[in-house]
């Protein structure tokens, strides 16, 4: 399956200072800072901990995170006060709880889709060998291309036909349950079918190209 050239993947990085103030240092700093904060956030949600982190960039800018409250934690640290006994429980702020829940659900969903992608990829590989029209078009001759064009035309017609049929049967159904409403010619007043999928009209498979 043709794909963009893959990068080398996870590399072991040597733990020594990055020489000079170059782009790699800045990028590394940025990414790792982000990762650090992310891990801190997870620790707080999972274990009910309270974390404060301060980081200075190579350019001496200050970045910080404090969960649940930065200033409160810094003051507690500076004053030497101990951790309060109420610690260790689930995030109290409802929005944080909700977001964490949402994030988990999304992660599960992504996993489902990725599994599906694997299944579909296998099917695709098989059929690419079976059907000549699935060959990359550069490999097709002019005659094949023209043939293909005709086939697409025919298929397009059939798709339109079927769509028509479905539309008509749906409108008939709708009319049957609402006999007093005069159907608008051609257009539906309200789409009957709920469409949660990405809308085809603003949709392009090209963005999905690997």
């Amino acid at each position: 399956m043709a794909g963009k050239p893959r990068s080398k993947g996870r590399q072991r990085v040597e733990m020594k200072p990055i020489e000079e103030n170059n782009a790699r240092k800045q990028v590394t700093f940025s990414k790792r800072k982000h990762g650090l904060f992310k891990k801190a956030s997870e620790l707080c949600v999972l274990c009910g901990a309270q974390v404060v982190i301060i980081v200075f960039s190579p350019a001496n800018k200050a970045y910080s995170i404090g969960i649940p409250d930065f200033n409160m934690l810094v003051d507690r640290f500076l004053s030497g006060a101990p951790a309060p006994p109420s610690l260790g429980f689930a995030p109290q702020i409802p929005t944080v709880r909700e977001l964490a829940k949402q994030l988990t659900e999304l992660m599960n969903e992504l996993e489902v889709q990725e599994k599906r992608a694997k299944q579909l990829a296998e099917i695709s590989e098989e059929s690419e060998e079976k059907y000549w029209w699935e060959k990359p078009i550069e490999k097709l001759e002019l005659s094949e291309l023209m043939h293909l064009q005709g086939l697409y035309e025919e298929l397009r017609r059939k798709v339109a036909e079927r769509a028509d049929k479905l539309l008509i049967s749906e409108m008939a159904l709708a009319q049957a349950s609402m006999p007093n409403i005069v159907p608008l010619p051609g257009l539906e007043a309200n789409p009957i079918v709920r469409n949660d999928n990405p809308a085809p009209q603003v949709f392009s498979f090209r963005f999905g190209e690997n």
Partner: protein
């Protein structure tokens, strides 16, 4: 390292929570150290938990103290500029995840449609194909047609279809698609079809624009993902 599914919720199991805390606390401090080593910057991490009276600190209480003071010495505007809030960070992760899901969904739909199209070209009908899929299929067909046309235009000009094309390369496979129509008849048809492609609206069975209004949903709802079977 084996990747276990992370459920981002408070761990109610006491033992699991304690172990997780110790593990992740260690990991967090290691990451902080790596950041300092690689980029030569000031970092401090202070963790309060129900497991210790004192906070767990990296690098050391003294060093952390210095870093905090360095921070406090900054003008207030500088201090508050880059504070990360947990809500915002979670929100942006949610958004990112939704984007990834959308991308994956799109890929999956494309694969399904390619498969569906091949089946249809192979002679199997479109029975049982729902409206959503019909829409997607149409999108795919249009894109493929564009590609094919583009490719044809690029090839050296060839106005007449060579008569010997029936016995051309890969001849065998061609006989089993074609929706049941013999190859030669198709080729004859092609010339008229190709002319129709130039002026599609009147000749073909439908009008492009009207189709759009009928079949294509206007709203792109980013938040509701109804996942395909």
């Amino acid at each position: 390292m084996a990747k276990t599914k992370l459920k981002l919720a408070w761990l109610s199991n006491n033992l699991a929570r304690k172990n997780t805390y110790n593990q992740r606390k260690k990991g967090l401090m290691k990451k902080a150290e790596e950041l300092r080593t690689l980029c030569g910057v000031n970092v401090c991490t202070i963790i309060f938990s129900s497991y210790n009276r004192e906070p767990d600190i990296w690098p050391s209480q003294g060093d952390a103290f210095l870093t905090v003071n360095k921070f406090k010495e900054l003008p207030e505007t500088e201090q508050y500029k880059n504070v990360v809030h947990q809500e915002d960070s979670l929100r942006s992760r949610v958004k990112k995840m939704e984007g990834e899901i959308h991308r994956q969904l799109t890929k999956n739909i494309k694969h399904r449609m390619t498969h569906l199209m091949s089946q249809a070209l192979h002679g199997q009908g479109l029975h049982g194909v729902g409206r959503d899929d019909l829409n997607y299929l149409m999108v795919l067909i249009e894109e493929k047609m564009k590609d094919v046309k583009g490719r044809i235009d690029v090839l050296p000009e060839n106005t007449t279809i060579p008569s010997g094309v029936g016995g051309g390369s890969g001849g065998d496979e061609k006989t089993d698609i074609a929706l049941g129509v013999p190859l030669e008849a198709l080729q004859r048809q092609q010339q008229s079809w190709n002319m129709n492609v130039m002026s599609p609206n009147d000749q073909m069975g439908y009008n492009g624009n009207q189709m759009d209004a009928l079949y294509f949903n206007n709203a792109l709802d980013d938040e509701a993902f109804s996942f395909l079977p």
